[in-house]
Symmetry: C2
């Protein structure tokens, strides 16, 4: 997409400073110790799902590929690192030439995940892999949290369109990523123009109370909006009295009025009343859009209401109670020495305080039962058993530092629906519960 | 600061697309109706604090000034809007020339706020003010949420330094703003290099488990780190056995070892044990840094532990349970007609579903009682009474579209400590409660 190259307003020239300082100082120490080039395997996984959630949703993978490809230290960044005494001269020289040349495998975007799922595997030298920790986790933890909330809301909406409207409730650039993740999770459009610009997500808009209040009467405001935007527009009908507003709206726009938006009150009651009134006025095709602090539960509670679309803000972009995932980036294997042919040895932190860490590079598969329903998340090390290889989850994402699996957001969005559809039915219950699939460790990982 | 001009990696060339589509279509409709130039006053306020919180913290004001000054529609953005049929030709022409030329007043950064506090007041034509809604709210809602959490944590830390380490738990650019807001709220440093680069916040780093696991032994890892980074470095001592690691650390670095970090286990117990061991080994000046899912409650529970610094991640950048504020941007007054000398009339949406909206441009003051303690947040319309004028809270931030109140982050950080210090003592209780000051409406606003 051409716009991405403009760098406006979302792309940033380099992602190399989205990095915690210790990554650079570890590189410095490893360069000096001669261990920086040891072949290493890092793995992204979550030890648990957010409390009560039945599945997680992988999102942000496409953004990770962009971030890793753009991870370069330009002169301005190097000057900052030098001036701040973050690292020494040999390290600065090494960073100046840096680009990631390793391999990345992982769950494709939109796939679901469970505790222990090897969501992303990064392989290369220790130094090149350790540098990517923060930026990879930032993206996956944020985007997957929003996508998981979006997925639950899209289940609750049962086919009715969902509009992402949360930009004002989160950081202005997080908002753009949130709109993207929401689309992967099942939303159909966004109010955020930057998300339309950067990712081609369909953008929509209605009107604010300010527009009505600006005018000398609600009728003036509706007239202004319809004359400029056409009868297909969406009129906001709850600035003063809803019944009065609906009557005025149909008088001004005629029965072909596109939609009305309700943003306050008991939406269930008001939606029924407005539908009845619209029908009586002959505006049978005028749709009803509801907004106002919706989450998946509120959406579900409106299932029987005559609502045509939901606009969701705060609760979506804050992950509906879980604004981040707890994915971590852990070294799971590294070469026994500096020789590039040295064998990989599995490594893991000693478990303390209940933190589960399983060493070794993992594969994962999700076998189906006789009814075609997923029965477990099987995670193993070593060679994947033949009967599981067909249900393997990871795909190649980058080879020698180049992305090999770019895809459209629609592909990720469709994958999510398919993956969720293979889970046991209880996956889509909104009530809190255990992960809908058990994670089973196979091979050496089971030890 | 020179770095800000590089635009790397945080500054974006334009903030004009951090905008919800309806803002542009409202401008289009108002341009056509001839109402776009009506003088208008918009106000940012929160109807409530996050549940249980006793005060809010204004943060992001400095970023708002940057965002408003850079709010321009470059040709690439206009081409996108045209191609997507978001607005018509006259509106595109208007946008091409757009820059904000109005006035902004508000609470200075670091100030505390309460329900109804007029945190920011934006005055200009309807069209120029309505365009800024989303970007202003994004910044204030995000940054203030993080600053509020930071403030509570800094109270709990009672003078011990707090390190911001949350980049990996939030969107990569939200992380930079979060580090900034955390600094305003009382944190002293960050692990996020982008925040050091962009805002000059001191950056720090320790080491990760991966560094220890990379090496053939913990001793090799510690030796590599100390040889490269000096004895003042911070060694991570919980990869295998803490007691063993502390012994090795002091053997390798000597008693001048800077610090050890503990990232798991019962921090209270482990910190005591490590302190005793360090002292026995003669490393009396070696500090203890603790990390691992800390929040204000965990920090408070470590008050009696021999801890020298806290590293906080997830709970800080997600606002410790409240990742966003509920600030809104409402039209509160507008001219009675197109004449630039037309008087302003107060406007407000009809209250429905308990949403409080008070029309008219507000002032706010925080009078002190006889002991010098703040006694109320007084919010009024019309002329401010003389006895309150000395305790007025708002300041001029932009005049005719130009920022007039830029200041250092340190100034905001110091202001926050002062403002919090004037609140009743119960402000800093961590337990849930009511806002520590009542909001009183005065003048016409009380009607």
């Amino acid at each position: 997409m051409d716009e991405a190259r403009h760098g406006l307003p979302v792309t940033v020239p380099s992602t190399a400073l989205f990095t915690d300082q210790y990554e650079l100082t570890m590189v410095q120490a490893a360069l000096r110790a001669g261990t920086a080039q040891r072949r290493s395997v890092f793995e992204v996984f979550a030890r648990r799902l957010p409390s009560g959630r039945r599945y997680g949703v992988v999102a942000g993978t496409g953004r990770v590929l962009d971030a890793v490809e753009n991870f370069r230290f330009e002169p301005g960044l190097l000057a900052f690192l030098e001036r701040s005494n973050v690292v020494d001269r040999p390290t600065l020289d090494w960073l100046a030439d840096f680009r990631f040349r390793g391999n990345v495998r992982g769950y494709p975007e939109g796939e679901v995940y469970f505790p222990g799922s090897p969501v992303l595997t990064v392989e290369g030298s220790f130094a090149e892999c350790v540098l990517l920790e923060t930026v990879i986790l930032s993206i996956l933890n944020h985007d997957s949290a929003v996508a998981a909330a979006a997925s639950r809301m899209s289940v609750a909406a049962a086919g009715r369109p969902l509009i992402e409207m949360g930009a004002r409730r989160t950081h202005e650039l997080a908002a753009v990523a949130a709109a993207r993740a929401a689309y992967v999770g099942g939303f159909s459009s966004t109010s955020d123009l930057a998300a339309g610009f950067r990712y081609g997500i369909p953008t929509v808009g209605t009107s604010a109370h300010a527009f009505t209040l600006l005018h000398d009467s609600e009728r003036d405001a509706f007239t202004a909006q319809v004359e400029s935007l056409g009868t297909g527009t969406t009129l906001l009908v709850d600035t003063y009295d809803v019944t009065e507003a609906v009557r005025t709206a149909v008088e001004v726009a005629g029965p072909k009025l596109g939609a009305v938006r309700i943003d306050s009150g008991d939406l269930l009651v008001v939606a029924h009343r407005v539908r009845r009134q619209l029908d009586e006025l002959g505006a049978r095709d005028t749709r009803i859009v509801v907004t106002s602090d919706l989450d998946e539960y509120a959406i579900a509670s409106l299932a029987a209401a005559p609502v045509d679309a939901y606009g969701v803000g705060t609760r979506l972009v804050t992950g509906s109670g879980h604004p981040t995932c707890s994915m971590v980036y852990k070294l799971v294997a590294r070469a026994a020495g500096e020789d590039p042919r040295a064998p990989l040895v599995p490594v893991a932190k000693k478990s303390l305080g209940g933190k589960l860490s399983v060493g070794g590079e993992k594969w994962a598969a999700r076998p189906l039962d006789e009814y075609g329903v997923a029965e477990a998340e099987v995670v193993g090390t070593g060679r994947i058993p033949e009967e599981l290889a067909r249900r393997r989850l990871g795909v190649e994402l980058m080879r020698d530092g180049r992305a090999v699996a770019r895809e459209s957001l629609d592909a990720a969005r469709e994958r999510h629906v398919r993956a969720r559809g293979l889970l046991p039915l209880s996956a889509t219950q909104l009530s809190p519960g255990e992960p809908v699939l058990p994670t089973r460790y196979a091979g050496a990982a089971a030890a």
